[in-house]
Amino acid sequence: MVKFTADELRRIMDYKHNIRNMSVIAHVDHGKSTLTDSLVAAAGIIAQEVAGDVRMTDTRADEAERGITIKSTGISLYYEMSDESLKSYKGERNGNEYLINLIDSPGHVDFSSEVTAALRITDGALVVVDCVEGVCVQTETVLRQALGERIRPVLTVNKMDRCFLELQVDGEEAYQTFQRVIENANVIMATYEDPLLGDVQVYPEKGTVAFSAGLHGWAFTLTNFAKMYASKFGVDESKMMERLWGENFFDPATKKWTTKNTGSATCKRGFVQFCYEPIKQVINTCMNDQKDKLWPMLTKLGCSLKSEEKDLMGKPLMKRVMQTWLPASSALLEMMIFHLPSPSTAQRYRVENLYEGPLDDQYANAIRNCDPEGPLMLYVSKMIPANDKGRFFAFGRVFAGKVSTGLKVRIMGPNYVPGEKKDLYVKSVQRTVIWMGKRQETVEDVPCGNTVAMVGLDQFITKNATLTNEKEVDAHPIRAMKFSVSPVVRVAVQCKVASDLPKLVEGLKRLAKSDPMVVCTIEESGEHIVAGAGELHLEICLKDLQDDFMGGAEIIKSDPVVSFRETVLERSCRTVMSKSPNKHNRLYMEARPLEDGLAEAIDEGTIGPRDDPKNRSKILSEQYGWDKDLAKKIWCFGPETTGPNMVVDMCKGVQYLNEIKDSVVAGFQWASKEGALSEENMRGICFEVCDVVLHTDAIHRGGGQIIPTARRVFYASQLTAKPRLLEPVYMVEIQAPEQALGGIYSVLNQKRGHVFEELQRPGTPLYNIKAYLPVIESFGFSSQLRAATSGQAFPQCVFDHWDMMSSDPLEAGSQAATLVTDIRKRKGLKEQMTPLSEFEDKL
């Protein structure tokens, strides 16, 4: 039974005030997909009875199998509100019908990029938090991301059923737990105060927090109960709501409200008295099959069961009763409609985040006003594999204008620069589609404020792009997404049968498209590399590659490989010199480590080649103690001209120096990409050009003489400055009960990890452990951990920082030296490092 048709959906798409674009975000296993099911059920796509079991948005076989969400899935829901419930809605609206474009996202850190892609195209977020486990690392990460994108959050405290059935906690204790969860979330949100977005913290008494049990399909906000009691007590609904949360106590004996517990036995907190206890009572009666007590209770609550449902027993009965009394969909949808912004509201303040161009041009205005008549502005945030093997839907959000079947669009890729023709295509949209879970419906056009999937553009979009009308040549693209994870784990893949190579190439191309984070590249040695955020992520990617994108052709994958960085520990022990091949030019140089935090600042873009030199020198002198004049003499950054290494000119009065700058820079880009130790990227090295002696004839100091010499002298100065390797380190968060701690510590110790924070979650037997773990040791970590703790601990790893390995790679037999040899062997280089004497020359 489907309650709505594509035509109906299409009609509401025009009412921009009646649309809500929202994503469901949470830590892994806090019940996003399950909760989403209840909403989908309300829209009539799946039967109410099975809601919670189907996981409509887990469309892939492996998602269902593992019980985790891997890809974010969009679903458009149609929902009609009653007049009565909309009575208190103050905002603009257009009838009672609402369209909810909902995106269910994965909770595992390895797939955070999917969350990022989902957040970009939504305006609001439903943050799901497990009432027992509380706010976890991934909750925090996604919340941060959401607020960074100016997405308004509402919260639901989920898995309420655990309180009643599993833990059987009493009302006051439960209240304290909920209160803490909400407080924790608010602490994170408070750090993102944003004048445009206003107060983003959530308050149960304002209706922005719901309490839900996704598995059983029920949920409530305080509004539900306030409505119920308002008439009974004869007070205002909003006043009642305030009384239902916080320090408000009611004593049924005296029938008085107080702000302090009076100490009398019957005095209870409002929330406990009027919300928690009634639910507990209903659940208990159902579970104990006390039907004679149940029916009158239900009549009092104003809900009735169908006759066949009355025969249910125990849990099914409880589920049915609760679903009828407090249906999850109405509570949650009401919360979304009331408290999440419509596209027209949200785009007013989000335009600054979104649009790269000037904020007063027609495109910015069209986005700001969510103008369906304006120029098309559409952001494609991800590519979704279509049933038709090898093809993809481009999935995104229309921010302005309308996209329609057959429309010719201008595709601006991530490398597009306005005014140039790089990364730019003009193609027509073959079909516009709206997404409804496992089903897709074709529609004629989609106006702004909605999510949309398009057919026929996949051959021009790798991962994301901005689309606009063909003629809008001066439009700037929408800002690229910033991911919170980075692809640090890599495997080399090759095909078993050499002649399958074209298949592999084609497969990798598609894999790169299907996932926002995965990177498919090729190594110098000719190996194809797939890089992902973590072991699980890679595993899924490789499975997709082999089964879906290569038609089952077999591939061989190498062990996971981690990329390292090369850095230096100290300033070079002496000024090194290299002579050009013709012996007529000499370059003198020293290397030294960059100041603490400077490499990170360059990574983040606070300091970079495009800065105004004045600003840059200000930051460098104030924060990093650089000499003011010196800061102006930075020649370049590298590798790729933006990397965290630099060349600084320290020479005084050298003739022709400006002539060789370009050549030195070219040599630097080359050398910083392939360091002297193992040809890994350099990181955090500052090279100081101390002196230069050049030949008087321009022909003898050309690029051919200087570029290879510069490269050699960079290597020589790196080798004389105590070179070290940097390895990537994960921040691991593990949540486990006390008895599992021993196992966790021993596994972490084996793996060179170290714990830096251990906190007991107040009110629970659970511990929260944060540790640093070298990425190279992380392979097999989670399975080992599970084995050591009999499945009670589940780690979440996020790349955190680069850590210097203390051993000296130049000292034979040291750990770093072994690593260097391994890397060199893998890359097909000579196993012995090139000695310093090859790079340094004597006078």
Binding site: G413, P414, N415, G419, K421, K422, D423, L424, Y425, V426, Q459, F460, I461, T462, K463, E470, A498, S499, L501, P502, V505, L508, A512, V519, C520, T521, I522, E523, E524, S525, G526, H528, S580, K583, H584, P609, R610, W635, T641, N658, E659, I660, K661, D662, S663, V665, A666, Q669, H695, T696, D697, H700, G702, G703, G704, Q705, I706, I707, P708, G828
Partner: protein, 501 residues
């Protein structure tokens, strides 16, 4: 070994006599240069004696001029025809390792030299290998071992008759006649090659019902219906460029090498296999290039001009810019003088073309690799071609799916070549073009180092982006200056400089 037989004096003098050459260039590689005077002396004596025995027949005879050529401009494996024509030579005698590339103008005679080899040990290894291998074995060898193949074959036959349990048959490649005459007609080139000489891997079916393979001077014939994949290769000789060439060309075969100097078998050839993968990477790199430098690495190998033109067309058709550079043997310092080139295309004989460009600023690829890289839609299938003749005859790949943008594995995303993009984007209206041009002219150039490889589309653009733009013209004082005497001396120290270096 006997000096005269090592340098094939008898055959050489016969060759000169029978063709009546009067000016003969002797081309020596650097390592054999020390023997050159002796060779000339012995050869001259021999020719003298031949003439004396002949003089009774013809009566008059001119003196035969022998010239030693050293330090060739390109690889020493190719016949240096330009060098030879400086002395108006009418034939070239080539000593040492050769790639057997066909010549364009001059007849050539090749003296391979005769390296010593422990025949018994070699036969032993070979029969050992044959015992363990189920496929038939094709024996290939470095040309310096050509002299002993007859004997190896004989001894192997004897040993196999006494053991008689060799599972697989052993075939030997043949060495063609050591002389070569130029062929002028490119169309006929491949046909002639098969009969006279080999360059790269030519295969064709001929009347004798078989496929003839040619590589680096070796030829052999396979019966109808068999391909090289059905054979295992046994290589006798050094791990040199000729061997690399064989490994790349027959990369689907199992190959072992018998090192004759160390008398041992080398079965681990992972290093050689790596080369193929490395070449594959270079092709991917080349796909991203905007500016291609064509290095002319030969002036002798037949068909080189044709290839250069073909490559020029290919590169232009792919929307890239090509510059032709002639610079003798390339080295890192020379090529780094052209930092604007993203990739170099080295047109040279099959055996010098494979340059491991690790030390170079930009990779160096072969014409075959360029064909794969710059032909949209063509894919690396594993087949590898080294010679020009085969490249010319390579079937033109139909332009692939032009609809799809090109995926670059170097950058991990879609990139578009400028030419194709221009077609994609509708041309701007003319009145707008001027406005756009002015707008761009006023755009703030980010004056930070813009030497990012791969951004410039032509050499001119690259230079425009450099921070150093050359000397500034003095704005005042444009009156002619009196001339001054320039400097004298060597670049290392001019006469007016005091010797401080």
């Amino acid at each position: 070994m006997d000096f005269e037989s090592n340098y094939d004096i008898a055959a050489t003098s016969d060759f000169i006599r029978t063709h009546n050459f009067t000016r003969v260039a002797l081309q020596f590689p650097d390592d054999l240069l020390k023997d050159s005077t002796r060779v000339v002396a012995v050869l001259r004596k021999r020719l003298q004696s031949l003439r004396e025995s002949d003089i009774t027949v013809s009566g008059e005879e001119t003196e035969i001029g022998l010239y030693v050529m050293a330090d060739t401009a390109y690889g020493s494996c190719c016949v240096d025809e330009v060098g030879a024509s400086h002395i108006n030579a009418d034939c070239v005698i080539h000593y040492g390792h050769t790639c057997f590339s066909p010549t364009t103008a001059l007849p050539a005679f090749f003296v391979f030299g005769k390296a010593s080899i422990g025949i018994a040990d070699c036969v032993e290894s070979m029969s050992q290998y044959a015992l363990t291998n189920s496929k038939p074995i094709m024996v290939l060898f470095g040309l310096e071992y050509a002299h002993s193949t007859q004997q190896i074959r004989k001894e192997l036959l004897e040993s196999s008759t006494c053991k008689s349990d060799l599972k697989s048959e052993v075939h030997f490649a043949d060495v063609p006649s050591p002389y070569m005459f130029p062929s002028k007609d490119m169309k006929k080139l491949s046909g002639i090659q098969e009969e006279a000489c080999g360059c790269g891997n030519n295969s064709s079916s001929d009347e004798a019902n078989g496929i003839i393979y040619n590589i680096g001077g070796l030829t052999w014939k396979l019966p109808e219906g068999q391909s090289m994949e059905d054979y295992s290769l046994f290589w006798i000789g050094q791990d040199n460029s000729a061997f690399a060439n064989v490994v790349l060309t027959f990369n689907a075969c199992e190959i072992v090498r018998y090192d004759a100097t160390k008398n041992q078998m080398v079965t681990d050839l992972s290093q050689q296999r790596r080369i193929l993968k490395r070449r594959y990477y270079l092709v991917e790199r080349a796909k991203d290039a905007n500016i291609v430098g064509i290095l002319v690495g030969t002036l002798g190998v037949a068909g080189y001009l044709h290839i250069i033109n073909q490559m020029m067309e290919l590169i232009t058709a792919a929307g890239k810019k090509a510059y032709t550079l002639v610079m003798g043997k390339p080295n890192p310092a020379k090529l780094a003088n052209f930092p604007e080139c993203d990739v170099f295309l080295y047109v040279s004989c099959a055996q010098t073309a494979l340059l491991d460009s690790k030390e170079y600023l930009a990779p160096v690829i072969t014409p075959f690799e360029a064909t794969i890289a710059f032909n949209r839609g063509s894919q690396w299938t594993g087949a590898y071609v080294m010679g020009f003749g085969d490249l010319i005859n390579l079937p033109q790949v139909q332009a692939g799916n032009q609809e799809e943008a090109r995926f670059s594995f170097i950058r991990g995303g879609y990139v578009e070549d400028f030419e194709n993009q221009a077609e994609n984007v509708e041309e701007e209206r003319e009145d707008l073009a001027l406005a756009n041009a002015t707008e761009k002219a006023l755009q703030l150039r980010d004056n930070c180092n813009t030497l990012i490889k791969g951004d410039a589309k032509s050499g001119a653009e690259f230079f425009a982006n450099r921070t150093y733009q050359g000397l500034n013209m003095p704005e005042e004082n444009t009156t002619p200056q009196p001339f001054v005497t320039g400097r004298k001396g060597r670049a290392a120290v001019y006469e007016d400089e005091n010797n401080k270096h």
